[in-house]
Symmetry: C2
Subunit: 416 residues, 2 copies
Amino acid sequence: MVEKIKELLKNAKNSSQSICNIPSEQKNYFLSELQKALKNNSKKIISENKNDLVNAKKNKLDDAFIDRLKISEKTVKSMIDGLQNIETLDDPIGNINSLKVMPNGLQVGKMRVPLGVILMIYESRPNVTIDAAALAVKSGNSIILRGGSEAINSNLILGKLIKDSLSKAKIDINVVQVVDNPDRSIVKELIQAKDFIDVIIPRGGKGLIQNISDNAKIPVIKHLDGNCHIYVDEYASLEMAIQVVDNAKTQRYGTCNTLESLVVNKSIAKSFLPKIFKLFRKKDVEMRGCSETLKILTSIKRASTQDFYEEYLAPIISIKIVPTLDSAINFINKHSSGHTESIITENFTHSQKFIKLIDSSSVMINASTRFADGFEYGLGAEVGISTDKFHARGPVGLEGLTSEKYIVLGSGQIRN
Amino acid sequence: MVEKIKELLKNAKNSSQSICNIPSEQKNYFLSELQKALKNNSKKIISENKNDLVNAKKNKLDDAFIDRLKISEKTVKSMIDGLQNIETLDDPIGNINSLKVMPNGLQVGKMRVPLGVILMIYESRPNVTIDAAALAVKSGNSIILRGGSEAINSNLILGKLIKDSLSKAKIDINVVQVVDNPDRSIVKELIQAKDFIDVIIPRGGKGLIQNISDNAKIPVIKHLDGNCHIYVDEYASLEMAIQVVDNAKTQRYGTCNTLESLVVNKSIAKSFLPKIFKLFRKKDVEMRGCSETLKILTSIKRASTQDFYEEYLAPIISIKIVPTLDSAINFINKHSSGHTESIITENFTHSQKFIKLIDSSSVMINASTRFADGFEYGLGAEVGISTDKFHARGPVGLEGLTSEKYIVLGSGQIRN
């Protein structure tokens, strides 16, 4: 097995040296071939995926898991749409934004370059195989895909179609490698291979991500939890606040940009909270409030200290009343996971203060936290949302998978 | 001791929340006060530094070490010049390069923000204390400075002057903290404190940097060795090649951007190598060549495999003859440490290929590798040169100490 891993790593490194300088046209040809391949093989993909589904049911995996694992005609269609979208994105590689002339005549600038080799470790969603491969190739990187063992049949057929399409585009097929061995010790080997891999992107539960970043010897683009807040300011339009809070909490319960904690200014709490209470009760959203909240909403449960740190991913919301904007900002910066926070206000100064002082990957004014994703931000696609500050922050698209090197153009300059 | 470290970390974290949003004027006021303080206390600084020098001599530290440790009137002057320069740099914090309007009317952009808390670990040069503190404050970060125990008296007086100047500028004095305890176990604690520190910047020997990045639980901006190459192409102007190679190797031997390995195209080797041989012999630069080189320069030493990986930091150079540009690129990418490489050529296509395919933090055409530094690139100052691809690559100035967050400005948008 060690030999096989070595070969995999070497293949990745070598192929990264060829893919880094391939023209966009050729990369886009791969993407269009892959769209055709998915279309022509959708029945086969769905039938391989059925094997995974049968096994998952045998192994008594829960409904949510099986839902994420399942590939339908619609899933294939959305993979194809995603590829078409990535095909239209501008290729960042080789771009030089500006060249500045120094006093000695040297021209100095930065050229955008690939990171090199990406290791993607993910759980059940097989569509990640297609998305990640497409983004890696378009950004000139080589990628190793380590999906969950529960999705192995789906990932293998998708991996085969990817290799066929790379081959048609005359790109080294080792640019995308699907790890077919379900042995968990492989992950341990891979995340320490710092001479071969440039970045690790884990996607899945908090446990998986924490475990990988604790043990990796390579930089990790982390997407931990999304404990997202909305602060309803004293100068909020209450009508807007209700619409946005409703949307952020109830449009989808299970996503990382879903609202989990509502912060309300004391001076409007009495008029605002009963309205949102009525709405949430109708939709069976459980409210858990601080002691001030309980004075207004007497029938709800008291929130524990832990509640304010919780990413529920469920129809539950914590509620905190604060006296001022400053206390709202402090409360949010203390409890938030740094994903996405929004303020509802009509006051210009308050909006400016909030957007400057909140330390999260996305900070919004008068908008639903649900908008925090690569597609909504115009990145076209994303490999995840980084809650780190280092390298990439927020939705990570093509640019997040690249770096820049300095270039210096001279005419024989020497240093004095 | 554990209590003291906890307090240090808490102070850093808390002060990072105040410095992140301070106007440029106030930060520049600090920088100008610090210039005055250095000027008015230069005698005191030099006398404290003398204590360190006496100890260093007692401990039989070598001349190069003592040279780096020493603060003269000229060193103080250059610290002041550096501060003046940082004062004039544009403050990156809060800048929003563009706001793009999405189809639903949301305005989406990125705002530049500080990283948070920087931990700087460095060896003998006390001027790093001033440079790093100034860059950290200007980029809105809090910084913990852990200098070498050999420079403790110099660092403490500089730290005191920094705190005085912060206080005059009404900035939280905990924004810059000099660790005064020489105990090495403190470093081990600090580099694991991932809830308090956002980035570690080590400066010093390769052993120090390797040790820190192996044990840190926090991202590290690494500056490993500089095994820099110049490739003299078959289409080079030989006159320019000689001038540039001479400058890159002999202008200073001990810097990371010094030329360590010369790669020469076979077709010009016979005319070029004897000329450079004459020059290097005059300057007592030892040449170590590959077997092809030895056929032309019969009197020099044969280079071992290890020689081609070596950062000599001394009057020694390795020489390799290659048949083609492609083999030059492969040879360099294999042996280089990813710092800085330059091609000497008059051929446009060759220059383009070299600049695209060489995987280093700085890639140059017809220029001396000695130009690879923050000041020469117009960054004003640097905290180091990153040989990583992740986050920052090449000279790290103000921007390398920042990140970006997404900002979203709406008018009540909800997601469908």
